[in-house]
Symmetry: C2
Subunit: 364 residues, 2 copies
């Protein structure tokens, strides 16, 4: 794919040339306009993920007062769902919205920027990105691929997925065909499950035809939208695989560097605002969808038995260790990630966790 | 106090007049500039709270490309810490940064927009503000006081506070003089404690002189900054009073209405970005400070015994009920708050809480 010349969409008005002395040099460019394409891994307008991409684009347009427009494309419209990384790196589109662990075959360390089994919660993850080394490491690693990454949303804790049969022991997991991406998929492979990745839109049919026995997608809101309760009865709670999942915005580095400083700030802060907005929306919509799944669709909520949890924990640690041993970039990122988790977890324990326990204890 | 004429700080440049036809009508005002004063309830540059106010101001300046400047003032510089609401309503300053429960004597319902004992977590609260009726109700109630409110930060879960003596039973609470604002203060009064509110900067001396036996301030980061560990040995975990605490930005409604639409968007999204940034910063800095308090300063971490927790829960419900019975505005807000909590909590339980439990169970 050929890189486009991004400035071709910019125009310079007479007003820009008339800039008065009190305006800064970047103010002098105040009438250059930018129109970007954003390719995504989600169906157009897909709940929270696709609409979250739309909301980000709307924020950029409002904050820039119309100087910057981002055209959002659903999966398959310009490029397939799982080709977002390559397309943005090559400049087919200026921006993408996806999840970094989809690129693990290409950039192994990318998975630490989405979700780590038994890893950090959403709040801990945001703290690492904004106040730890997370963003700096992510920038460094993606710069080698001509990309600038941002967190542009978070699903919050994801459910452990849909299973056609109830899981009563580790034996019941043997040989199951499960859709589960990233490190968690590796960990499942380590306990005898056979995992694959595929775009969310293919999960329903794969469960229906028996190509899959089980599937993780996101959580109640998105899973209900795909109708997964129609093809599997057992729904496992959020216990291990994705305590948080960052949605990534990727920006072609040439396009990023061509933006004036104030529009870089617009993109940066629109991303931060969208990060919170999506997480907040998921907290609400997941709750509404969970109620519908349990009370209207008779879904059976379950959690994994202790032997499965113990095996998954050990297998997760092993999968991480293998990756860290194999890949210097992964080692560097995980060292930072693990050290940060060790730092922040004690406050999560006496803060959020202590509160949730006491709210549970006094339940009427 | 007299209202100022906010547009006196605006200037119109020649570039604005030269606006080309393709720019929107609000673009035609692109060179009007706005300079606001923001009064706060915190010492200037106070960790996370004061610096969070600074960060919000910086975001507004960057996003507006210098068209809007907010001058941040510490408590007592223009007005005292607990006069922010009145000062902004009257137009002494265009904006304030504080906490809504400080105004309970004036607007009883305001406390539901900061923190509710045994109430919503930070994530649930943000969901109510952004996707439930929270912001709409807050807007309505504050509009009667000539104010437009925003969430501009959140402390996350707050600790239950500092006690000079260990609490081993409900009896030990009798007659204690405790600094604790809002509904939680009411609840403490209901179990035999005597609560007061005072600015954070006065807590250290009050504990030292014995005017206070105990004090809640925020959490490890802010409490360490005030040196509270030097005047009390026992530090109680985050179990009941402020599972989340919203920091409020208040804007004089005339000043708000005088902003062009794009700068209203700048303020709105800078507030949302700052909301997440402060919460993320607290997660990290609280953890660092907790480590220092426990390991360097030998602070004793404690949680309340069961009889105290049970009494606090009942007393909290009673305090809320009294307020709802007394005040129509409070009834309306709390009905929305309580219904939203009831909706979102089941997903918090199978999501965040289920994860924190399983991470705890597999602890190495």
């Amino acid at each position: 794919m050929q890189r486009r010349h991004f400035l071709k969409t910019a125009s310079l008005s007479v007003a820009g040339a008339a800039a008065a002395p009190f305006v800064s040099s970047s103010r002098a460019r105040a009438d250059e306009t930018y129109t970007w394409d954003m390719v995504t891994s989600w169906p157009k307008n897909f709940p929270a993920l696709g609409t979250g991409a739309n909301d980000f684009a709307r924020r950029v347009e409002q904050l820039s007062n119309g100087r910057m427009t981002i055209r959002v494309h659903g999966a398959g419209e310009l490029v397939p769902a799982l080709e977002v990384f390559d397309a943005v790196a090559a400049g087919t589109a200026e921006m993408g919205h996806s999840a970094s662990y989809y690129w693990r075959g290409k950039v192994a360390a990318s998975q630490f920027f989405t979700a780590v089994p038994f890893g950090m919660t959403t709040t801990e993850m945001n703290a690492w990105l904004y106040y730890g080394d997370g963003q700096t490491l992510w920038d460094e690693i993606y710069a080698a691929h001509n990309l600038k990454p941002f967190a542009v949303g978070n699903t919050g804790p994801q459910m452990a997925g849909w299973f056609k049969k109830e899981i009563n022991s580790l034996d019941d997991m043997q040989g199951l065909k499960l859709r589960l991406p990233g490190l968690a998929g590796e960990a499942m492979n380590g306990i005898g499950v056979s995992t694959v990745n595929m775009p969310g839109s293919e999960i329903f049919t794969s469960l229906q035809t028996g190509a899959l026995d089980a599937a993780d997608w996101v959580g109640p809101y998105n899973d209900l939208a795909f109708g997964l309760h129609q093809v599997a009865d057992y729904y496992y709670t959020s216990v291990w695989n994705e305590p948080s999942a960052v949605l990534e915005g990727t920006i072609n580095l040439d396009a990023w560097n061509a933006l004036p400083e104030d529009l870089q700030a617009v993109v940066t802060e629109a991303a931060r605002a969208s990060n919170l907005a999506m997480y907040s929306e998921f907290a609400f919509r997941n709750a509404q969808a969970l109620e519908a799944l349990v009370n209207e669709h008779d879904v059976k909520l379950r959690t994994f038995p202790d032997d499965v949890m113990a095996a998954l924990y050990q297998s997760s640690q092993d999968a991480i260790q293998r990756q860290v041993d194999d890949d210097e970039e992964s080692r560097r990122v995980y060292e930072s990630y693990a050290a940060f988790q060790k730092t922040v977890r004690p406050f999560s324990d006496v803060g959020e966790y202590a509160y949730l326990k006491s709210r549970d204890n006094v339940r009427d």
